[in-house]
Every structure is written in C-alpha cells, then in structure tokens.
Symmetry: C2
Subunit: 469 residues, 2 copies
C-alpha cells in the first residue's frame, strides 16, 4: 500500500526552481475567463476563499486500460515563478471592461502562488480515470488562473507519454525505439514536448537536437534521401583517404576499396549473382558518409532500390570500413515491405559474415521507419521481421489515434464546503470533497487497485479488508 | 492568371524582422541528421553546392479538396535571424563524433541564411497537392538545416488553418466562431499556434490571452461552472449596489431587483408557470458576475439545469440589468441537446421581449460549446438550432479528425542538375527541377486550375490555350 501524495510546494521552498521550459508559458497562457472570473471574485470579496480543485481525466486514451501521468514538472515550474509583469497586467486591463476597478490590478500585481498547495501523483506513474492527478488548493481566484495552463501542460504530456508506452509495449522490450516526429508535430514545442514525454514513455532516443540539449535525451540521426540524391558518382569525391581505426595506417583510396568490395559481392558464389549494377550516386553518398563518420556509418538504403542497390552498396562500404578496423552501424529502411526487406537483408548479412569471415556482420543493425504506429508494429510482429530499431514519427508525436486527452479541473470544495458539478451526462458529474488516493498492493508486490477516501477518513490498513479499514 | 511567387528574402533586406514567436525555435530545432549531413557535405567539399528543395504536401487533409497554407511568417522569422550561438555549436560538437574536424565548427560559426532564397505562395492562400508551397534555394548544407523547422512550422499551421476554414464553412457565414482549445492543445504553442491559425482560417476570437497579446486576436470569455458552484446563495453578496449605465442613478440592492424579476418570470402568464424554484447558488453567481461586468453579462446556464434554473436565472439578472440601462450579452450552453435547448431558450427570450416590452431581448446571443466539430455543427444545422456563436476547442486545435499534415521537403535540383526521389510507392516520387506555379483564372474571375512549368519555360499567356503557351 502506498499513499501517492507529494508534499505541498512550500515544503520545497529551499530550492529555487527554474521557470517553464517554454518561455511562452506565462501567467497569460490561460483563458480570458480566468481573468474575468478573477475580477468577479475580487469584486465580490471572494477572491481569497480557499478552494480545492481536482485535476483528473474520465477515460483512458487510445481505447486502452491505462494512462501515464506526465507534465507535473512544468506545472511546478510555472507556479514556482508565477508573477504577472506590468506589461502583462496592462494587457489584462486592456482586455477587460474599462469599468473594472483599479484596485483589481493592484491585487493582480501582488498575486503569486505562495498560497497554493499542490498534491500530485508522481510524474511517470501509471494512472487511472477519476483519481485526481493533482489536487490544487489555494485562493480561488489564483487557482482558477492555473486551470488552463495546468490542463495544457498535463493533457498532451500524459497523452504522448501513454502513446509512447503503448508503442513500447507492442514493439517488445528488445527493440530500440527512436522518436523522429519533430517535422510533423503540432508546432515547435509539440515537437519538443513529444521528445521529452516519449522518452518518459519508454523511447530510447530522439532526432530532435533542441530536445537533446534541453533534456539530455540521447540523439540519433544519419542522413536523408536528399543526401543520397545530391551525389552524382564516386568520381566527385576528392579526398578519398581514410585512416584506420587504430590510426596505424591510412587507406589512400577508400573509394576504390569500396568499389573492390562491391565487385566481390557482385561475383560472390554464395550470393549467387544476386546483385547487378548498383546506383553510383548512392555508392558515392554512402562512401562520402563513411569518410565523414567511419565509426558510425549507418546508411539509408531505399533511395533507389533496396535489394538491388541499397544493400549491396551498404555492404561494400561496410566491408571496406571493416578492412580498416571500423564496425559499420547498420541500415535504415524507410519504404516498402519492411518485414520482407528486413528478412532479406538479414540473410545477405549472414551470408556475407560466412563468405568473407566478418564476425558480427550477420547482426548488422536494421532500423525501420515510414509511418509506423501500433498497428503496423503489430502487423510486422505477426509477419516476422528482422528489424532491431524503429523510428517512429507522426503517429507517436501527434497521437494520431486520439489527438487529445480530456483532463478536467473541477472545484470540489470551497471554504470547507463540498461542491459538485452536476450534468445530464452522468460521466461528467464530479466527485465532491477533498480526497486522498491510495494504490493497494497484493502480497506478491503487484498493484491491485486504486482507491479514494475522504481527506479525513482513516487510510486503508495493511492486511485489513477495505470495509473494516 | 496570377504568378504566385514572392521575391527572394534578400529583397526585403531593408526591414529587420523579429525572431520566431516561440523563442524555442532556434537553429537546433532540427533533426540531428541535418547536422550529420552538414558535416558529411562539408567533409566532401559539397556544402556550398547550390541546391533547390520544394516543400509540398501530397494529399489534402480531412478527406477534403483544399488546404490553407500557413506558417510562412514564422519560417521567414527563423531564417532572417538564423545564426548558431557558441553554446549551440558546442552542443552540436558534443552530439557528433569526436573525430569530426574542428574546421566544421568554424564553418558553422559563419552559417546564416544570407545565401538562401525562398519563393513562396502567399500565406493564407488556398493551395493544392504537389504544387510547391515553398521553393528554397541555397547552399545544400544550410538549406538542409532548414528542412525540419520549416516542415514543423508549416505542417501544423496549415493543418489547423484548414481545419478552422472547414469549421467556418460548415457553421455558415452568419455565425461567430470562437476558439476555446488552449487546455486541450498539444502543448503551449500548440495552443498559441492554434489561436493564430484558427483566426487565419476564419475564426473571430480566441479564449487564449497570450495569443491575444502576441497577435492582437480578439479575446472572449466569461465564467466557468466552477465560478457558479463557488457561490452558496445571494445572501453572501455584500456590495449589492450598481450604478445605472448612464451613471445618473444607483440601484442600492441589485440582488433584490434580480430576485423581483425572477418572481415576475415565475408568475408570468405567458410563460405559463414554466419555471419553479431556481438554484440559488447559480442566481448568486450570475448576480455577482453582473455586478462585476454589467456591460458584458454573459452567463453559462448549464451548471445545474438549463431550462429549470439557468435560463430563468439569466433572464432575471438580464432584466434587472435592463432596468439600469444595460444590455445583457447572452448565454452559453455547454452540455445537453444544444439544438433543442437553443430553440427553447429562444422561445423564452421572445416571450419575455413581448411580455415585458424589452426590445431586442428575443435576439439574445446564444453561444454553444461542448466538444463541437464539423459533424456536430452539421448535425445541428440539420436539426435546426438558434445558436449564434460556437465555442470550439479540442476538435479544431488538435485537428482530431486528422492530427498531421504530411508536408515533405524534397531535393529537386543541385548544381543545376535535376534530382528525383524514386519510390516503389508512385505517390512518393518527387517531381524534379526548379519550377514555377501559376493559378489560372477564367473570364468570370474564378480560379480554374493551378499549373506548374519548368523555371525557364514561358509563362502561360492570357487568352491562349495552354498547349500553345
């Protein structure tokens, strides 16, 4: 049994917290009605009444059975630094009615979150509907101002972390997952947030350099189709020399070495004349990339034709690198039948390992990308594939299968009086009163159920039935 | 016939453009592979080769027949200020291989977009698949760095502008559309971007204060359910006085005035005893809100029961305001059968106009919200409704029906040599060469078709058949 509530913010007051990651997260990142209400509360002398709000969602996303809670840190960063600037107060003044009294703006000038307490479930936890993720207590006018930014910061964060965890689950533990979604994300920090929360949800790395810098997330990336097609032929490579991995020798013409290996592969008995002419633009691009990154040569092999050109060109360059003591990093497939192509590529890698005596070549890393999602991962698993890493973009970062989580922020108590939001739709009725939530664990150490009690009810006791608790 | 291409950036060089709206949009907001490729280009001595890339999409979103192009201004802001800081260069150095040569970082230090030309369709235009939205020319290594941020800044912007325009079309020209999506948006600038591009797509206003400040978009907002349920009864209202609209007199007890009106409505013959007891917490909230905003009283009427409590409470307060020369702003419905409730409310407003002789009361503004989207707007239209304004959130800002637009950025020429990206999927094959695009108009002034020509082909001529152009 574990009580899942952190202390109030005040308890951390010894630490100075930086502001929100995105400088656009300011006290104005809220709905106008939070300010109109603040004025009405202030005008009615109610603004300092102590209110309790629960932040929760009503339904797990993606038709699933769980949600990963994320976004808490950014909420804390917001309230730890919550203060309206003069410029912001002027804008609120312009936005409200000219009849609003000046005293209100003096009040706004003094507003901060020192009177706000937040009780929250630990970020990254598995959570379920209706159990409050956050309980926010404080002066009603101030806590209302936090409603919109808290929902904004938690809704997408939790949605994308959950989406990432679901992809993680389908891909299987042994596979590496890479988030490649920045270009398709919903705006710049749709991309940056996606990188952060996909990592939290179980991804290994991102392509997003800004997210790598901000959060220390491992970065991955090699080259694109444009890089391949920007080359004409190996003749244009001017500096052809490459030092060996141990720096003991230099190959003066790495281009020829790769071309020699290409011929060997083309004439290999065990490959049975699988390969004919390969694309020279592609060979030039791979060779150039290997000259730039001999210790991290990973090639995108589908610009022209995976089996007839991309794979043999990759193998030729990888074998040339092997001669100089470098281990090539692998291939990426970005189109076509990924299951089939990965299996065919694997066979060739194994054949080459045997034929040319290159230990480990059979285990060459195969990365797949191209509009992957839960369904396509599942289909690949069913077909059987040889992919080691998946690069996932659009579907994970935009949460294509369900683009929003419906967290809400409901008043459950004011001045110690319980409050309820009624609705003709029974799922929308809020649960009144300040509550505590507990996760109960069985003897085997697995969680069994989450329960909520009233704030002043005794907590459930170990080894006692709930009814007697 | 109109050639839709703007001049190169250089032509605007007299103006200094501010940086991107979101300070997180930096040269690092890109995929790592743009930097690994930049290094490989540099290492091969190819980094300054003149490349031409087209940015376009392959399919209109939402199963529709058009797209609104948006996001251009933010792209221009990025390149007008494109410069890597020392700190950013250090991070790139950490992220690449230690074997990368120092000269590359010296090169990065000097990188800007002065050699980059962008030809673009005007932001806000209706656009179609395959026609380049942007043609970007410049040194291949620099233009590659722009691929990811350009796609990020255009994909979501164009998607949400298109979504907004589609909602605008379904709602009909006479209706007001309000964007209420900040809390459900994909991150902070998912919200801010949504507000900007919904406005571009035809919305009238947003609830998002930060977007109002940044872009001058009109703001809307009144109060929430929490505001209503935070009140207990009218007894708690301390300052009950309200000055008349013309400042000539003061009503000392506005609360009693509203209560008197409530009785009149309850005992009205023409309303036939429609109303019994109304909720006192709600009456208190409405009265308080009216005291705070007598010139902009808009009430959310569904916290308890729309017809039995919300509407009569609204009418009582609105009629009391009317006595003092104020015109109430209307109601908002946020749950239930919006078509039915809006029609019933309208009947009552008309009855009150007649019964109590309040001109214009029948035309009271009715706003509807609650998970609205294209389908629900269409269903409301079919049922018949009396809604004047729609508040739309989740579905418009997250583009729930299709959460991503698939703009791509393809190399079409390098060193004056045409380049093509082949693919087994024929829709993914790129169209090589530098091109111009034209929109042809018929005599009646309506656009007929967009066509593309090679850069050096003669433009189509007015009144000449295309074949002869």
């Amino acid at each position: 049994m574990a009580a899942k509530s952190n202390g109030p913010i005040g308890e951390h007051s010894g630490r100075v917290l930086a502001g929100p990651t995105n400088p656009m997260v300011t006290p104005l990142l809220t709905d106008l009605y939070q300010f109109t209400m603040a004025y009405a509360y202030w005008k009615a002398g109610k603004h300092n009444e102590r209110a309790v709000f629960d932040l929760y969602f009503r339904k797990n996303p993606f038709g699933g059975e769980y949600t990963i809670f994320a976004g808490l840190e950014e909420c804390i960063r917001l309230i730890a630094n919550f203060k309206l600037s003069e410029d912001e107060i002027d804008f609120v003044r312009e936005s409200l009615s000219p009849s609003c009294e000046d005293g209100f703006y003096d009040y706004l000038r003094g507003v901060d979150c020192s009177g706000v307490e937040v009780y929250a479930i630990t970020e990254g936890s598995v959570v379920f509907p209706k159990v409050p993720l956050l309980r926010v207590e404080g002066p009603v006018a101030v806590v209302q101002l936090l409603e919109t930014p808290f929902l904004n910061l938690i809704n997408y964060a939790s949605l994308v972390a959950t989406n990432a965890a679901r992809h993680r689950f389908v891909a299987g533990e042994s596979k590496m997952l890479l988030e490649f979604g920045l270009r398709r994300a919903q705006g710049p920090d749709g991309g940056i947030g996606a990188s952060k929360y996909c990592y939290m949800g179980g991804f290994h790395a991102t392509s997003n350099v800004a997210a790598g810098k901000l959060f220390g997330i491992p970065l991955r990336g090699t080259h694109s189709h444009a890089f391949v097609s920007s080359f004409m032929s190996p003749d244009e490579i001017i500096d052809k020399s490459l030092r060996s991995s141990d720096s003991q020798s230099t190959c003066e013409d790495f281009v020829s070495l790769a071309q020699t290996w290409l011929s060997k592969i083309q004439w290999s008995n065990s490959l049975n004349g699988t390969f004919g002419e390969t694309n020279q633009s592609e060979l030039a691009a791979f060779t150039s990339y290997a000259l730039a990154f001999p210790d991290n040569f990973l090639a995108l092999v589908d610009t022209y034709d995976v089996m007839r050109s991309g794979i043999p060109n990759y193998c030729a360059v990888a074998l040339a690198l092997n001669d100089l003591g470098y281990k090539a990093a692998g291939i990426r497939l970005d189109s076509g039948d990924l299951a089939y192509l990965s299996c065919e590529a694997r066979k060739i890698f194994h054949t080459i390992e045997k034929e040319f005596g290159v230990p480990g070549f059979g285990k060459t890393n195969i990365t797949a990308s191209n509009d992957l999602n839960e369904e396509t991962l599942d289909a690949l698993n069913k077909q059987g594939h040889e992919v080691d890493s998946f690069g996932i973009g659009t579907y994970v970062v935009t949460c294509y299968a369900q683009a929003a989580l419906g967290c809400v922020f409901k008043l459950v108590e004011i001045n110690n009086q319980p409050r309820i939001k009624l609705s003709e739709d029974v799922t929308k009725v809020s649960i009144p009163c300040k509550k505590r939530s507990y996760r109960l664990y069985g003897k085997e150490g697995y969680p069994l159920v989450d329960i909520m009690t009233g704030e002043n009810e005794p907590p459930p006791k170990v080894s006692c039935e709930l009814a007697s608790a």
